[in-house]
Symmetry: C2
Subunit: 212 residues, 2 copies
DNA sequence: CGCTTCAGTGAACAGTCGTACACTGTTCAG
DNA sequence: CTGAACAGTGTACGACTGTTCACTGAAGCG
């Protein structure tokens, strides 16, 4: 064999290359405007070889969601651990969020773009994961509000709002100047605002009395 | 002339047909996956005639933003008037929001889709309008918090969060079953949740003390 | 070692795309 | 009434698309 790689490893490498290349191409366009040929060409294989890995671009899109969601889940785990070590829940969460977006911008850009984008299956896949995330956050909130008997509906409503605030922060981070030089101050401003928003919501929770 | 229309009127009618058709095609796909030919075909003209109205699909997209934004601005005006008549600011705003989305789903779908979509110029145009909207809301909030000397930064942060909550409600409304039958209860649930979220934020504002 | 498996190749296909160009026939101003 | 303006037509082009098929040659198994 050419390198120190088995055939299976080489195949997996090509597969990953296809996914990576698609993620990079997505940066300036939407998924359903990217052609199979373009992906194959950029990955350095012939169009027909694409079918050895995915049966269509749509299917690649769905698998790309899974891939990216692993990042997001990692973020959530980190955030939970951050709570334990950092003390302040909000500060810790926002910090983890900032780091993850900085480290995997393409993945988050893909998720944000295709969340409302063209391909139905992809949209669904992202939506499912996001709903799951909201539910988990609602469970966390339930623990924090134990004794105040919040209805599960109110918990979900609050989690939904918090997720919306975090998503807005992610989106704003992604639209910063890609050059890392002039970027830092803005990045901190966005993260600070996000933290403030979460704190504002937390304050509201303290005064909340359900009315239904 | 064939109908009771001048040439200029006929031209304007075709132009509008192109815009409308594009809006309808956008429902299931993203702007940059729609071809000029498809738009022309659906509008009932030959591809080359398209150029009599727009110099490219991208330019049509930008003008479509302007068109749709007129709806959004109308919504804002209605909401402001609703405040005066309805008494409760939040209830009135959410009600107007629900009505507008129900009446112009395609326009809102376009704005939401292309807000993070492929075409840069379109994205920019939408972003500008949305930022403007947030600023106006911040001004409204300033009036409501007069005497509590909120910093303009905090006002903007709060307005940003409220806009995020409203956008989330709009998005959820758009993803409802298109069939009007089984739709009403879900629609009310989404609007109620949105109203609760705004109320939660308002409660937070009552307790807010800036820390910088 | 020989045989099979299979990731990747290359040519060919029927379509669609954006755009150029010369045109037609109605509208409208002078 | 005459001529220009111009919304819309029809044809043609080269480029690109997704998918087919028969193929090659190295990897991996018995």
């Amino acid at each position: 064999m050419a390198d120190g790689q088995s055939r299976a490893e080489r195949k997996e490498a090509t597969r990953q290359r296809l996914l990576d290349v698609t993620l990079r191409l997505i940066a300036n366009r939407s998924l359903d405007s990217i052609s199979l040929r373009e992906v194959a060409r950029t990955a350095g294989i012939v169009p027909t070889a694409f079918y050895r890995h995915f049966e269509s671009m749509d299917q690649l899109g769905v698998e790309l969601v899974d891939d990216c969601m692993r990042s997001l889940r990692q973020m959530i785990r980190d955030a939970r651990r951050g709570v334990a070590s950092h003390g302040d829940i909000i500060e810790g969460t926002i910090e983890v969020l900032g780091r993850q977006v900085r480290e995997h911008p393409d993945q988050f850009r893909f998720l944000v773009r295709e969340r409302y984008g063209g391909v139905r299956q992809v949209r669904r896949a992202i939506d499912t994961e996001l709903t799951l995330f909201t539910s988990e956050l609602a469970v966390d909130l339930a623990r924090l509000t134990a004794g105040f008997d919040w209805s599960s509906e109110d918990l979900e409503m609050t989690a939904d709002l918090m997720v919306a605030a975090m998503l807005k922060a992610i989106i704003d981070l992604l639209e910063l100047d890609p050059k890392p030089a002039r970027r830092r101050p803005d990045e901190q401003a966005i993260l600070n605002r996000g933290a403030k928003q979460l704190r504002l919501i937390a304050l509201g929770m303290g005064e909340w009395r359900s009315k239904d």
